[in-house]
Symmetry: D2
Subunit: 321 residues, 4 copies
């Protein structure tokens, strides 16, 4: 992982500002021969499109993706795949150059770091960048057909009841207020053995990927923070109860929960979401897909393709273990 690229082997570099001409991603290291067309990427982009989902930003972006490289006759060639999404509904005039710093945004931090920033809608720090991740993840999904990834919103403003959310979100929108939210993502079908001990742990990479989504403030995997309140005798239910042990997948479903803070852009003239966690759902899926596809390749590099023969599990359930 460096500044704007992501992944060990399936590397994604994203670029673009919220109100520049376009945003995009380059996906490098993709296996060859996979069927890939713009329609495939588009369907995933449509899932996160603002304006389509109720209670998201009124900015109207068609988010049409174009593939500029890396395929031939509808298949990946193993060379870098460039995905470009034009910014159509950019309104730079809404964001004057001398705009004050917005609390909770990256405005101040960018200025402090670089001494210069693109003030138009958060520039690079805009949630718009996540469209590039979703597009890149559409490619990653082709690499891991054996895996099913499903994220969903499980809480809004501390409330787990979906009916009450609607009222809360309506209210927040009226008042120019916003709400935090909790997203849960489950990945099924990950075989045992992906990940690596110590510094390329599957859970560590998932944590980085999800913590790097805008507005995310917490990530937990498996038992999560609840585990801190447990005794071992309550926790050690059975062999590989968790989807990841020691940084390596166990074959069980992997569960990740991600906390989004309330969007900071309350009031003001910019167009924003009352609850960014809503649009965070497809972005979480995207990041999980990217991490898993990357680790599939990493595992294949070191250990080859044949499934590692697993010795019989001795002593399962034996008392004292």
């Amino acid at each position: 992982m460096s500044w704007n690229s992501f992944g060990h082997l399936l590397r994604v570099m994203t670029w673009g500002e919220s109100h520049g001409p376009a945003i995009g991603a380059v996906v490098d290291g993709c296996p060859p021969g996979l069927e890939l067309g713009e329609a495939w990427v588009q369907q995933w982009l449509d899932k996160r499109r603002p304006g389509l989902i109720r209670n998201t930003s009124p900015r109207q972006e068609p988010d049409r993706v174009r593939i500029l490289s890396g395929t031939y006759q509808g298949r990946t060639t193993g060379t870098p795949i460039t995905l470009v999404i034009d910014n159509v509904d950019a309104r730079p005039a809404d964001y004057p150059q001398d705009a004050p710093f917005r609390p909770g945004h990256a405005d101040f931090a960018y200025q402090a770091k670089y001494g210069i920033r693109d003030p138009r809608g958060g520039g690079r720090a805009s949630a718009r960048e996540t469209a590039a991740r979703v597009a890149a993840a559409a490619v990653a999904r082709l690499v891991i057909p054996e895996v099913r990834i499903a994220a969903r919103l499980v809480e809004v403003g501390g409330e787990a009841d979906e009916v009450r959310w609607q009222a809360m979100l309506g209210q927040a929108r009226e008042r120019g207020d916003s709400l935090g939210g909790l997203v849960e993502c489950v990945a099924e079908g990950v075989p045992a053995g992906w990940g690596a001990p110590v510094y390329a742990k599957l859970d560590a990479d998932l944590a980085a990927a999800c913590m790097g989504i805008n507005a995310v403030k917490g990530v937990e995997i498996g038992e999560g923070f609840g585990a801190a309140r447990l005794k071992g005798s309550e926790n050690a239910g059975g062999m590989a109860a968790s989807g990841i042990d020691g940084g390596i997948s166990t074959g069980k479903p992997i569960v990740v929960r991600i906390a989004f803070k309330p969007t900071s852009s309350i009031g003001g003239k910019g167009r924003h979401d009352p609850c960014v966690a809503i649009r965070g759902v497809p972005v979480v899926e995207a990041m999980v897909a990217l991490v898993l596809a990357d680790h599939k390749l990493l595992h294949r590099a070191q250990c080859g393709e044949a499934p590692t023969p697993t010795p019989p599990v001795k002593g399962r359930g034996v008392s004292g273990i």
Copy 2:
């Protein structure tokens, strides 16, 4: 980050198994001219030493560090610094080759990945590996003298009262049981501007570093999971209330909270901690130090050494912003 190395510019590679002859770390990319001797590293190692801390594993390891390269006349030379810690109290015989998989441990996952594993005390997956991180972090601390890092245990088994912990831990030890715990780490003195947007976010790197510690199941930064239950109007307290915005430090203290699950090694013959979070405290500090030192160098690379002039903050506290 790759298999067993960590960091963008201040790179650490650790190696060694729990019951092999030694463990160690190589720190690459350290600035030259820093005063470094074995005594400096030793004092940090002593803080995590099992056997010294009550309620930690009875394994007696002196954890004496030797520096084999990278210094001359007590100063770093800019070349790789090798830190070696011999395993003295290794007892491989306690861990027979045909030991059953222990639930919640990495045993099964390692076997599934590699088709072979060192079964002696968890091998590479042992918490013993963290001694190498603490040693490496002692070097990292020299890189960031302006930063103060302090972690502490704030909860054991869901209990925040220190006096009650002692009873709980004693009980757990007697019963061969174990407890989860919560560690909080605060870093003060980090100037505004460290970190980078999108994929080398300071918070994402901290999340990966902490999630990669053995037994960690959750990481939150700043407002954390609590933020998911907030409204924006409650959250946006003031300019840069958080230590990290948009992946970049703001100059405010950075707060990280880490959830440790109960240690899985209950019962059995191996020697283990009733609450790994206790020894997790210096390890959390170590990982935070490594990430911050790395990002200091990353920032200097891209933006130079002069503090970036920060424009006056307009409109602070202005209503609606």
Copy 3:
């Protein structure tokens, strides 16, 4: 360095096929605040444009660059800079899908690796990709204003006399033949201290960068292959006679010589250069600029900005030393 990206800190990812819709580069890690406009990049692209230079491919590409991200009001912002060049004179029909492998080209190797390839004009392996490098290097040049880089053709087909070249090239073109060539590049103004020992050696990185240019078969630095024929008493002229010692710059000019083989596309219907070394000249400059800018940032990361105080050189000229 990974598949299609290049550089440690100033990272460049290029993408695009010869007869796809466009080619491009993303430059990540560029320092902020540098003046950058399309005109600056364009002037460097114009230097390598086929059709402009006599004795290069008749393909007519305007090679107009567009900057899609990473600048604001004419300055770099520290975020990724995307450079796109549309392919205008692409003629995919010239390259039928069932075209035979061309000897000396990457056709066979790509097919063997990926099981699929874009057969149109070499696809990704086309020398056209080098336009993206030249564009990226225009950004790199802004990072190293203290350095002057000048490459020139010094031999064509074994001949060092420029007048004779013209005749040889004309003849080769008529006969559908091609000629090898030798390019020499000198970098002046590189301060002492860039580079790093052992595996990020400045000369090793220069060698990789230049060997990675299409059709390059040899790279030598400083004394080069001539040194293999010398005695030490002839070679050790003075202190730091070479521009790089031990992988680190000495402050003296750095000289690199690069051998280009004759272009393989003799005959056939595609449009090609009779001597690719001619258009190799700006590409060599580009690669040298990218490596030097990257190493400037690497050096600043580890050692800071202040020039390292150099102790007085003792014993210079002392006999036997």
Copy 4:
């Protein structure tokens, strides 16, 4: 590649100074299950041992390797493999702290970069570091049993006749002089498809690996500098005449030639080689083995293990192609 580590997936980090307590290497990313013992590594180290080979440095180092991690019962486990070689015949007193800079050595460059250096025998820049590479490469060889690598000295001081070398070397030793040399390395058995286009080209990585060996000033691959003097009609002998096309192996033998300058340490008190190219032979083999093993894993990651079906070569020998 970063400061002191090397390789994309099979990563090697070396450490240690010529006159420190030890030198060593950590090999990360090695596939599991490979038979590895100290004897295997030792036999390769013995081939480069000074003192064993005539006309090499009189320093007497047994170069006994110890494996401190990464194996269990004689097999690799997939975790980092640590190889340590103690420095036995170190004589730091031979190298006073105020020693003058030696021309052609890294002394001045290190001092200019770091402001500090280990002056004892070149410290980290000593050719002694290459023992760590040879040890690491012994592991790499296990990864590529299908490949045969053989390097040999083909020229000394411009002379290709072995009998005359002996006289020249004897003379040089007497006079405290030294000679350059040329090493050629051939790798056979590399299947078609290793390497990658553009920035992880197999030839570019080989060039970096070989140019990073001490005293190397030039690298050529396949036709090399000779190709610069050819016409295409002379060069394009047949399909895939070269071992690498477009950065990817073709299945033909890969030939690399490396130019060593005369060792700079003429006269003085240190103990040195009259022709470093002699000991360069096993080091060249080592670097080639490391690059090839790394690329085998890279290829497997992206393209899987099944040999890519290669379509019939059409039009071979067709006139004009």
